[in-house]
Symmetry: none
Subunit: 212 residues, 4 copies
């Protein structure tokens, strides 16, 4: 990774054929990244797995890092879509139930492809400078704000909403990402969601709600 080159794909795929090609490449990147990790991932193999010539690959992705950035974006989009679908389902509920659902949703998405999720998490610091992580973080934070704003009644001397989002966001992220692979065996996804939810309700000063 000598120098920051282009940040974005060289061309935007317009025709249907190219779109399929780009999809195949991104998918191959996912497979190879999980199998090998970023350092050992090599572009030729990605092209081969995608069933695409390496020249075609380079028409859309100017360098190795761009592959991973595209994958990161696809993954983030899918996660957003997934979570939003869950959220719109239940608009009304007790605060604690809301939280529990949110956490469950995150865990459920994570469970769709835990290895990929893990691989992508590790790769973020490496391609960081190629990727607009600020936006990514902002999107998640906005989600959280929507969720927490109506629930939170700060008392005198209590942290601001932004501070709260920082605390809750980071801690949850850890618990649902890196940490997830090493959790105690006694923790099912459901139990974990519950417990995280309990963490937040107590921290936020909300009433706990019994599980129904």
């Amino acid at each position: 990774m000598p120098l920051p080159k282009h940040l974005k794909p060289r061309k935007v795929p317009k025709q249907q054929r190219s779109r399929a090609l780009v999809d195949a490449i991104v998918e191959a990147t996912a497979r190879v990244l999980v199998a090998r990790g970023f350092e050992s991932l090599n572009v030729a193999e990605v092209a081969e797995v995608a069933g695409v010539s390496i020249g075609s690959l380079y028409q859309y992705f100017p360098h190795k890092e761009a592959l991973v950035v595209a994958l990161l974006e696809r993954h983030a989009d899918r996660e957003s879509a997934f979570l939003e679908a869950r959220f719109t389902e239940l608009r009304a509920a007790t605060p604690a139930a809301l939280l529990r659902t949110a956490v469950s949703a995150v865990l459920a998405f994570r469970a769709l492809d835990p290895e990929l999720h893990q691989a992508l998490t590790s790769v973020i610091p490496i391609v960081g400078r190629f990727d607009d992580l600020r936006n990514r973080g902002a999107r998640t934070a906005a989600h959280l704000r929507t969720l927490l704003e109506p629930l939170y009644r700060p008392k005198e001397g209590a942290p601001s909403l932004d501070e709260l989002i920082f605390i809750v966001g980071n801690a949850t992220h850890s618990l649902t990402h890196e940490g997830l692979l090493r959790r105690p065996e006694s923790f099912s996804d459901q139990r974990l969601a519950e417990e995280i939810s309990r963490l937040w309700t107590s921290y936020l000063g909300l009433e706990a709600t019994p599980l129904e």
Copy 2:
């Protein structure tokens, strides 16, 4: 990085001269790792920065990954030493104060060299298979257990101590590592330590204690 080779350094440095040599190499690894990241770190540069011939380097480190593993170990040892020093200072105190101190200590260590801490965090998944991370986690967990055991009185249906340690450990880790770089400006180290401490006391059902 073809295959997992040796896990440990080839020789254990006995004489004083060799020890200085190994130290210089590990220190150079730290510098280069921060400057370049793991993928771009190359062994020749490490040797040069260390003022050591590449041949000598290979007498003590069988491969590139071993450099980073050694650095990781040195860092963990220093962290342990640092934290333990802080802990033994105050044996008695209210639970909340104890927690607050613990979190402060972690933050303080982190602040000694934030970039290195960050770089090492990112590198763990890459050299994972060369490093005995289980031990590393276990050590931290043991610390936490020592800390939490006397404070925690689980009620009926509450999580076990191990589960608690998982929750508390992961969330704190995130808040004091990756997250630390992106925290809101309003969060000084002290305010952050306080808030994290408040998170845990409320979660653990302890009384909050005002700062003295």
Copy 3:
């Protein structure tokens, strides 16, 4: 550039549209060649600068070298036209004045686009085998012969007219091409033309004529 392929453009453009297209391509070749040099010139960029699809380009130019050869031809044609226009203007004059005019004309053409002239000069050895340079040289030699024949009265043991043309042609070429870029500051185009003319009149045993 694996092997000598075709020497000539695939099609001869007949319709007006195609002619404009070919012109645009040759013009783009000139621009890119000056900017990048032959080795870095790439066909896709030429097509883009010409505002033409790469496919269209390949309908008229079978390979990269053909682009440069066409440019070389265009340039030679323009030079011939330019010089002939100057020559026909003055039919009668003293020999020295004639020579001075000839040299001036060459310098004047050179001054129209010195960078292009330079670039084309460098590129000749590279595309040599694709281009009929013999003809090109012959044309210039014929010009010179027309010019020198009436002026030259060889004495006993003196060089033949062909030898003379070789000497005069080569030396003038150098003085009006590569050398021109590095000439002493004291040499204006006019002074240089004068001096070259003086070189030839003395060599040819002609009387020098003062500038009018």
Copy 4:
């Protein structure tokens, strides 16, 4: 040739072994350059012809252009040595004989390896920005100045010595380089040297001297 990188070899060969290695590489560059031209010259082939691993090559030459620059330097050094040897032989002589000898010397050096000389001449514009051509020209000019200064007695309105050097130097260069390959068959090296010498004596206003 994306960017001007290093201008000089990475290492300076110190040990005898390395010196032989560098020599072998430069020699192989000469062979391959003559056979293929600069554009088709590829580094792997140079290494192979030199009987050296490509890695070793890159320890001394940071990029393709550096190979040719080194060759250019070796050639210029050899030429200087060759010419100086000839010049010191005859200190005293008539001006015309002196000039004739100088021209002969240039032709003789040229004849040692005409194809290489030709190849190197063509390659100068390509690697120009990597090579310090200014110095190269200056060296030749200094030679010429030494030669011409005692011979030249400028009359009123005649060109300065520097201007003279420019004229003489460029024209001779052309006649002894590019032009040499296409000379008329009637021109032996000796006849050519004579004729060039005659060109200069008449231009410089010296008396011609019969060949002894």
